[in-house]
C-alpha cells in the first residue's frame, strides 16, 4: 500500500492490483478505483495546467463535474474522475482540449428501445427507495445510475446496508448501472447512455432522484491543486480509501462539511479547522467534530506552489494544510428536470435553484428536490415510487417500510458569493479560466442577463456546462448588479446532453451500409456479375452503364444507345414506382389528381400522365395502365414512389373521403424489363408464344397479360421511353432474375440509366427532377396537350396566376452546340449573344440535360430558357469560365419527330 491508500475500508478490491500509465508513467491502482482515485493513491493530485492561463491545477471532484482532471484515452477526452481503472489503461492528461485521431474505431455502438411503467433516474437513497417501492408492485421499473455501483452518496457513507432494496427479487425491475440519463424529451422519452449502448426509454412515469452537486467557493487562488470539493474528499476517503491530503482545512456554508470532518478524523486524517460562513453553526455539530470552528468567516486565499500549503482567512489569519475541502452549498441536479420543461425557483434557505412545476409526468425526490437528510430522502423516494407505480396501474400507492437511519441535520445555509481579494485570481469556471474580474467586466459593459455574461466571459461553456461554476457565477452577478438574490438573475438554460456523449454512440449502427437502406432489384446480382457501374437513385442502386473491357463510360453509353436504336437492348426498369389504385371511383380520383383524364381510359390501355402540386408545378409523371373497370396501375419516377403514394392517400383521405378508392404500393412486387429496339419484336416472339406481337394486334400504349415460354405469368406493355419499338415485360419479382436471363439470352445489350436518359432526351421526353426543379409547369415543358381544359385537377387554378401565365417563363427547348463535338455541361447557364460577360450577367436559363448522341452523331442538350420557344433558331451562349460554348435553340425533339419508329 502506498502512503496515500488508507489501510482499511473502501469499496476497492485490495487483492486486485491494476496497472496503468498516466502521462507515460506506470502506476498501480486497485480494482474499484477510478483513474482519479488511483492517481491520488499514488500521490498524484496535480493534473494538466489550465487551458488559457497555464496555471497548475489539481483534481477537484470525484464525479462527472470534474473541470481539471481530463484525460485522453484512445482518442476520447474523458474525466479521470469517472473513468474506471482497468489493466493496461493508458491516459494522457489534457488541458481541456481533445485531439481526434484517424484510428478506426472497432467498437460497435448500439441502440435499445424500451418501454416501462416507472423510470427512476439516480440510484442514491431516494432513487433506491423509489425503485423498491415501484418494483415490488410488479410495475416494469428501470433504475438507471451513472456509477459502477448503486448507492449514490451512500457509497461514501459508512455502515449502510446497500442490499436493503432487494431489487433483484423483482422480475420486472431492471437495474442499469454505469448508465447516465443524458436527455429528457417530450412525453417522458428519456435517453440513457450506458457505455456503448444508448437506451431510449419511454416511461409512463419518471422519478428523478438525480442528487445534488456540491458548489465550490470563490476566493483568490481557489484553483490551486489541493482545493477540492468536500464531498469529493469524503468520497475518496470512504469509497476509495485514499487520502487526498493528511492535514485538511474545511471551508463551508452549510452542515454537510461536518460529516466530512468526522469521516476524515475517523480515517486518521487531521482536520485543522472548519471555516464556516455562518456566525452560529449548529452547536451540536460544532461540539461533535471537536476541531476548531472559525465561524462567520470565509477563506480568502491560499498559498503554495503546486499544492496548497496554507489557507488565508482574511488578512490576519493563515492556517497551514495540504488540502482545502470546500462546500459552497449544494445545487440540486435539476438538469433532467429542466430538460423536461420543468421550471426552477430560487430557495433562499439553501441558496439554490430547486424544482418547481413541470408539465411532464414526473416527480423529483431526494437531494435533487433539495431534500438533504437521509431519512427524508428515503421517505420521499419511497412515496414517489409507490405513487408512480400506482398511477401507472400498479399497487395501491402506499410506500413500503424503510430501514432505520441515523438523524442528520440540514440547517440554513449562508452562501458566500464574493470575498475580498484579487478578483483576477478568483476563479468561477476553472475550465474556462474565467474569474470574478471577468464577470465584473461584463456587468460593467452593461450586461444584465446571465446569458450575456456567460457569453462575454465564457463561464459555463466548458465540458461540465456550468454544473459547478454556474450558480456561483449567478451569485456574483447578483451581488455586482445589486439584485435582491440570485433568483432575480435566474439561470441559463439546461440542455441535453447532461454529460458528454460521443458522436459514435449517438450514431449507433446507423453507419456505412446501414446508414440508409440500400434497395436492389431482383436482377441486381446479374448487373454486378456483368460489370455494371451503379448510381444511387433514391435508395436504389441502378446500373448506370455496363462498360466492356477497355471501354470508358462514354464509349459504353454510345454502344448501348446504338444497340437500342439499331438492334436489341434491355434495361432493368424495376425501380419505377408502381401503385395500384382500386375502387369504383378510381377513375374519378385519377381525374382529379392528374392533369389529364383517366376515367375513360379503355381497359387494357395505357396513358402517360402528369401530376402537379397545388401550386401548379410539375411533381411527377408516369404511365397509367387500366387493369379493370375499377383498377388502375400507376407508375411513378423511381425517386418519388413513396411521395406519390403519400400524395394520393392524403387527397383521398382528407379531401375526398367519399371517393371509394384505395391504394397499394406494388413497386417491389414486380420486376420490370424494358426490351427495346427494332429487333425486340423478333427476339421476344419465341419468348411470348401466346401473344401476337404485331403492331396491328398489339397496339402502342396497350398491354396484355400472358405467360412466358417458361411458364411464368407476365404482363407485357407496349410503352416506349426511347421512341423505339419496345416491350415492357413485368413479372413477379421472384421471377425477375430468370426472366432477365431469358431475355439476355436473346442477345439483347443491357443498358443503364445513362443510355435511357440519352434515348429519351433525343425524343424530348423530360425527366422530372432533372429537367424540372419544382418551379416548372407542364406548359413550361411545352406539354399543354397534357393539361385538360375540361376538368379540375390539383394545381390547375395556379396556372392562371400572373406569374405562371407569363409568356416569358423559362420553357423547355433543345440546344445544338454549333460545334457538334462540344458537350454542354449539365448546369451550364445560358445568356443571350452580345451581352458583355462582366457580372452580373443576365441569365436566360440553364442546361438541364446534355449528351452525346450516337444516333445524331453529335452532341445535343435540353434547356429551360426564358421565353425559349420564341428563341428557336437563335444562338445562345454558355459561358463556362475560360470558354464559351455557342448553341442553337431548337425544338426539344431531335430524333424521329414523326414517331415512326415506335411500331417497329
Amino acid at each position: 500500500m502506498t502512503a496515500h491508500r488508507l489501510p482499511n475500508g473502501g469499496r476497492v478490491d485490495r487483492a486486485a492490483p491494476v496497472r496503468f500509465t498516466y502521462d507515460g508513467k506506470r502506476y498501480t491502482g486497485l480494482r474499484g478505483d477510478t483513474l482519479a482515485s488511483a492517481l491520488i493513491a499514488n500521490g498524484v493530485l496535480e493534473v494538466a495546467p489550465s487551458s488559457y492561463r497555464g496555471r497548475p491545477r489539481g483534481i477537484v471532484t470525484a464525479g462527472v463535474d470534474e473541470p481539471n482532471a481530463l484525460v485522453l484515452v484512445d482518442g476520447s477526452l474523458l474525466p479521470a474522475t469517472t473513468l474506471e481503472l482497468h489493466d493496461g489503461l493508458s491516459a494522457t492528461g489534457r488541458s481541456g482540449v481533445g485531439r481526434l485521431t484517424d484510428s478506426t474505431d472497432s467498437v460497435r455502438h448500439d441502440k435499445r428501445y424500451v418501454h416501462c411503467d416507472v423510470l427512476v433516474v439516480g440510484g442514491g437513497p431516494a432513487g433506491l427507495a423509489a425503485a423498491q417501492a415501484a418494483g415490488r408492485t410488479g410495475a416494469r421499473t428501470i433504475l438507471a445510475d451513472e456509477r459502477t455501483e448503486l448507492g449514490g452518496t451512500l457509497l461514501a457513507t459508512k455502515g449502510f446496508d446497500l442490499s436493503w432494496p432487494g431489487l433483484a427479487e423483482f422480475p420486472e425491475t431492471r437495474v442499469l448501472s454505469r448508465t447516465t440519463a443524458v436527455g429528457y424529451y417530450d412525453q417522458n422519452y428519456v435517453v440513457l447512455a450506458q457505455r456503448n449502448t444508448l437506451w431510449h426509454v419511454r416511461a409512463k412515469r419518471v422519478v428523478l432522484a438525480t442528487g445534488a452537486h456540491e458548489r465550490p467557493l470563490v476566493f483568490a487562488d481557489n484553483d490551486r491543486p489541493g482545493v477540492m470539493l468536500a464531498s469529493a474528499v469524503r468520497e475518496y476517503v470512504n469509497r476509495y480509501a485514499v487520502a487526498p491530503g493528511q492535514n485538511v482545512v474545511l471551508a463551508t456554508t452549510n452542515d454537510s462539511a461536518y460529516q466530512v470532518a468526522l469521516d476524515l478524523i475517523a480515517a486518521g486524517i487531521t482536520v485543522s479547522a472548519i471555516v464556516d460562513s455562518r456566525p452560529e453553526p449548529p452547536a451540536a455539530l460544532v461540539n461533535q467534530v471537536g476541531v476548531e470552528v472559525i465561524t462567520g468567516s470565509a477563506v480568502t486565499g491560499t498559498e503554495g506552489r503546486h499544492r496548497v500549503s496554507a489557507v488565508h482567512i482574511g488578512p490576519d489569519r493563515s492556517i497551514p494544510c495540504d488540502l482545502l475541502a470546500v462546500s459552497g452549498g449544494w445545487n440540486p441536479a435539476v438538469h433532467m428536470f429542466s430538460q423536461a420543461q420543468g421550471r426552477v425557483r430560487y430557495e433562499e434557505r439553501i441558496a439554490a435553484f430547486v424544482p418547481d412545476t413541470c408539465p411532464q409526468d414526473l416527480e423529483v425526490v431526494g437531494a435533487a428536490n433539495a431534500t438533504y437528510e437521509l431519512a427524508a430522502c428515503l421517505a420521499e423516494g419511497a412515496a414517489a415510487g409507490a405513487r408512480a407505480a400506482h398511477l401507472a396501474g400498479f399497487g395501491g400507492g402506499t410506500a413500503p417500510e424503510l430501514p432505520p437511519v441515523p438523524a442528520e441535520s440540514d440547517s440554513a445555509h449562508r452562501p458566500v458569493w464574493m470575498v475580498e481579494g484579487d478578483e483576477t485570481l478568483q476563479f468561477i469556471d476553472l475550465q474556462r479560466d474565467s474569474t470574478v474580474a471577468d464577470i465584473r467586466r461584463a456587468t460593467g459593459a452593461g450586461l444584465r442577463s446571465v446569458e450575456h455574461v456567460k457569453r462575454y466571459t465564457t463561464v459555463g461553456t466548458g465540458l461540465d456546462q456550468g454544473r459547478t461554476g454556474g450558480v456561483p457565477a449567478i451569485g456574483v452577478i447578483a451581488e455586482l448588479l445589486g439584485a435582491s438574490s440570485p433568483g432575480e438573475v435566474g439561470t441559463t438554460t439546461y440542455r441535453p446532453p447532461y454529460t458528454p456523449v460521443s458522436f459514435a454512440l449517438l450514431a449507433g449502427r446507423d453507419r456505412g451500409e446501414l446508414h440508409d437502406p440500400i434497395r436492389r432489384t431482383a436482377m441486381h446480382s446479374w448487373h454486378v456479375a456483368h460489370g455494371a457501374v451503379f448510381e444511387d437513385v433514391g435508395q436504389w442502386k441502378r446500373p448506370h452503364h455496363y462498360p466492356r473491357a477497355g471501354e470508358d463510360a462514354q464509349a459504353a453509353v454510345l454502344r448501348e444507345c446504338t444497340a437500342a436504336r439499331t438492334g436489341l437492348a434491355m434495361m432493368d426498369a424495376s425501380t419505377l414506382g408502381k401503385i395500384e389504385v382500386q375502387g369504383p371511383d378510381a377513375g374519378e380520383f385519377l381525374n382529379r389528381m392528374y392533369t389529364n383524364a383517366f376515367a375513360k381510359l379503355a381497359i387494357g390501355s395505357c396513358r402517360y400522365g402528369m401530376l402537379c402540386r397545388a401550386d401548379g408545378m410539375v411533381f411527377d409523371d408516369g404511365v397509367v395502365l387500366r387493369l379493370a373497370e375499377d383498377r388502375y396501375l400507376t407508375t411513378t419516377t423511381t425517386g418519388n414512389a413513396a411521395a406519390v403514394l403519400d400524395w394520393f392517400e392524403e387527397w383521398q383521405q382528407t379531401e375526398w373521403p367519399e371517393l371509394r378508392v384505395r391504394f397499394t404500393s406494388v413497386t417491389e412486387q414486380w420486376a420490370t424489363i424494358a426490351v427495346v429496339g427494332p429487333g425486340s419484336r423478333a427476339a421476344l416472339t419465341p419468348l411470348l408464344p401466346d401473344l401476337d406481337l404485331s403492331a396491328a394486334a398489339f397496339g402502342f400504349m396497350t398491354f396484355r397479360d400472358t405467360v412466358l415460354c417458361n411458364g411464368v405469368p407476365a404482363r407485357v406493355a407496349r410503352v416506349s421511353f426511347s421512341g423505339e419499338l419496345a416491350f415492357e415485360i413485368n413479372v413477379a419479382t421472384w421471377h425477375g432474375l430468370s426472366t432477365w436471363e431469358l431475355v439476355a439470352n436473346t442477345g439483347a445489350t443491357p443498358y443503364g440509366t445513362e443510355t435511357m436518359h440519352v434515348l429519351r432526351a433525343e425524343k424530348g421526353f423530360v425527366i422530372v427532377g432533372q429537367d424540372t426543379d419544382g418551379t416548372v409547369t407542364p406548359q413550361d415543358l411545352g406539354m399543354d396537350w397534357i393539361v385538360s381544359k375540361r376538368k379540375d385537377f390539383v394545381g390547375r387554378r395556379s396556372f392562371s396566376r400572373p406569374d405562371t401565365a407569363r409568356p416569358d417563363r423559362r420553357q423547355l427547348v433543345g440546344l445544338l452546340p454549333v460545334d457538334p463535338d462540344d458537350l454542354l455541361p449539365e448546369g451550364a447557364q445560358l445568356v443571350a449573344g452580345g451581352v458583355p460577360l462582366t457580372p452580373p450577367v443576365p441569365m436566360l436559363g440553364h442546361v438541364t440535360s446534355s449528351y452525346r448522341s450516337a444516333a445524331l452523331g453529335r452532341t445535343f442538350a435540353l434547356a429551360l430558357v426564358a421565353g425559349g420557344r420564341d428563341l428557336i433558331g437563335r444562338e445562345l451562349l454558355a459561358p463556362l469560365g475560360n470558354r464559351v460554348i455557342t448553341a442553337t435553340v431548337t425544338e426539344p425533339i431531335f430524333y424521329d419527330p414523326e414517331g415512326t419508329r415506335r411500331d417497329g
Binding site: L77, T101, L447, R511, P802
Partner: protein
C-alpha cells in the same frame, strides 16, 4: 494552451428605459433588428429609434445559429442580396471596430448523386455570372481542401464533387450582434430589453404604436424583426403571413485541436459542420417537421445527424456532443425571406429567413433600414415582397438548390 477569443469592449450598451415615442420602433433585438437599427443611423441619419426585445439582446436565433456565411445562392434575387451581405461582412469588422472572428475559410457543398452534381454545377455557373465566387471541385480537390472528408467510393453516399465558395465562412454570432448593438447604442438608439410587444395601437388600418410589457410606445414606423415569432406578432395585428415556425437543432462538441479547416455542408445526408475558433465542432441538422415554439426538437434528428456526420468524417467518432439546442425558425413556402410593407400602414415585416438568415444579417439590416426610412423597398428587397405569393413569382431556393443554411 487553447485559442483565446479576442477581448470584448469595456462598454457595450446603456440599458435605457423606453421613451413614449420614437420615429422608428424595431420589434425584435436579434441580429436583423440590431443591424437595421445600425443602418438606420449610418445610412439614413435616423437615430430616434428603439429596438424592443422581449428577452435579452440577440438571445433568439442569433444566439443559436451555426454561423455559416455564404452567398452562393442560385437565383439572381437571392445572390444579389446575399452577396451584398458578404461584401458588407468583409468591411464590418473594421467599420464596427469589433473583432467578431469573421473567417473566410471557404464553404463546400458536397454532391453525392449525379443529380446533386447537376445542381451544384448549375449553381456554380450561375454564381460566377452573378459575380459570386464559386468553383466546382472534383473529389480529389475536395480531399485537398478538406482532408478529413471521406471520399472513398465505398461509403453509402460517396462524394462525387462539391461546390466551393472560397470567400464564404463563419463568424462568431454573439459578437456580431454586440458589434451592431454597441454602435447603434453609440448613435443614441435605445436598445430596450425585457420589453415584450403584446399588441398594436392602431387607427383602423393604420398602426400608431405598440403595446409592451413596459408600457405603450408610439412610432411613425414599426418594423417587425422577430424571426420565429413573427406570426405571433403579426397575429396581434390581425395579419396572417405565409410562415410556419419549426425547431431547428444544432450542437457543439468539446474543444478539439484543429482538424477541420473549412465549412462542409451536405444536403443529401443533412449535415453542416465547421470547427469554431476555440476548437469546438459546430453542427446543425434539418428542421424538425412539426410546428413549434418550444425551442427544442426531437432526439432522433440529432442522432441522424451524427450518423450523417460520421459518414462524411469518420474521424469525428470519438468527439463528444456537449450541448444541443434548438431555435425556432420562420419558414416560408419558397425558403426565401419576406421583406417589405404589409397591408397595414406603417407596419413592415422582415421575416422568413428560416434556417439561413444569419449570413444575411448586414444586408437584411441595410435594406430594411432603407424600407423603414423611406417607406419603400430597396431594389434588393423588392423581389422579396409579400405579393409574390399572390402572383406566384416565388424565389424558390429549396425547389432549385435545396441548401438554405
Amino acid at each position: 494552451m487553447s485559442a483565446v477569443l479576442p477581448e470584448h469592449p469595456e462598454f457595450l450598451w446603456r440599458n435605457p428605459d423606453p421613451r413614449r415615442s420614437y420615429e422608428v420602433v424595431i420589434v425584435g433585438g436579434g441580429g436583423h433588428g440590431l443591424a437595421t437599427a445600425y443602418y438606420l443611423a449610418r445610412n439614413h441619419g435616423i437615430t430616434n429609434v428603439a429596438v424592443l426585445e422581449r428577452g435579452w439582446l440577440a438571445g433568439g436565433n442569433m444566439a443559436r445559429n451555426t454561423t455559416i456565411i455564404r452567398s452562393n445562392y442560385l437565383w439572381d434575387e437571392s445572390a444579389a442580396i446575399y452577396e451584398h451581405a458578404l461584401k458588407q461582412w468583409e468591411a464590418l469588422p473594421e467599420e464596427l471596430d469589433y473583432d467578431f472572428l469573421f473567417s473566410q475559410r471557404g464553404v463546400l457543398n458536397l454532391a453525392h448523386t449525379p443529380q446533386d452534381v447537376r445542381e451544384g454545377v448549375r449553381r456554380v455557373n450561375a454564381n460566377q455570372l452573378n459575380g459570386v465566387d464559386a468553383e466546382w471541385l472534383n473529389p480529389d480537390q475536395v480531399k485537398e481542401f478538406c482532408p478529413i472528408v471521406d471520399i472513398s467510393p465505398g461509403v453509402r453516399y460517396p462524394v462525387l464533387g462539391a461546390t466551393l465558395q472560397p470567400r464564404a465562412g463563419i463568424a462568431k454570432h454573439d459578437h456580431v450582434a454586440w458589434a451592431f448593438a454597441r454602435t447603434a447604442d453609440e448613435h443614441g438608439i435605445d436598445l430596450i430589453q425585457d420589453c415584450e410587444v403584446t399588441g398594436f395601437l392602431r387607427d383602423g388600418d393604420k398602426i400608431l404604436g405598440v403595446q409592451t410589457t413596459r408600457g405603450p410606445i408610439m412610432a411613425d414606423r414599426i418594423g417587425l424583426a422577430a424571426a420565429g415569432h413573427t406570426s405571433v406578432l403579426a397575429g396581434l395585428a390581425g395579419l396572417r403571413l405565409p410562415l410556419q415556425s419549426h425547431p431547428l437543432q444544432a450542437l457543439v462538441s468539446e474543444l478539439l485541436e484543429p482538424v477541420h479547416p473549412c465549412v462542409v455542408m451536405s444536403n443529401h445526408v443533412h449535415v453542416y459542420v465547421s470547427q469554431a475558433h476555440k476548437g469546438e465542432l459546430v453542427m446543425g441538422a434539418g428542421v424538425d417537421p412539426y410546428n413549434s415554439y418550444a425551442q427544442r426538437g426531437s432526439v432522433h434528428v440529432i442522432e441522424r445527424q451524427m450518423a450523417a456526420a460520421l459518414e462524411l468524417f469518420p474521424i469525428f467518432a470519438r468527439a463528444h456532443v456537449i450541448r444541443t439546442w434548438g431555435g425556432i425558425v420562420d419558414v416560408t413556402p419558397d425558403a426565401s425571406p419576406i421583406i417589405g410593407a404589409t397591408p397595414l400602414a406603417n407596419l413592415f415585416v422582415n421575416c422568413g429567413w428560416g434556417t439561413g438568415g444569419f449570413k444575411a444579417t448586414p444586408a437584411s439590416g441595410w435594406v430594411y433600414a432603407h424600407t423603414l426610412a423611406t417607406g419603400r423597398a430597396h431594389p434588393l428587397n423588392e423581389p422579396f415582397a409579400l405579393e409574390r405569393f399572390t402572383t406566384g413569382a416565388l424565389i424558390d431556393e429549396h425547389g432549385a438548390a435545396a441548401v438554405a443554411h
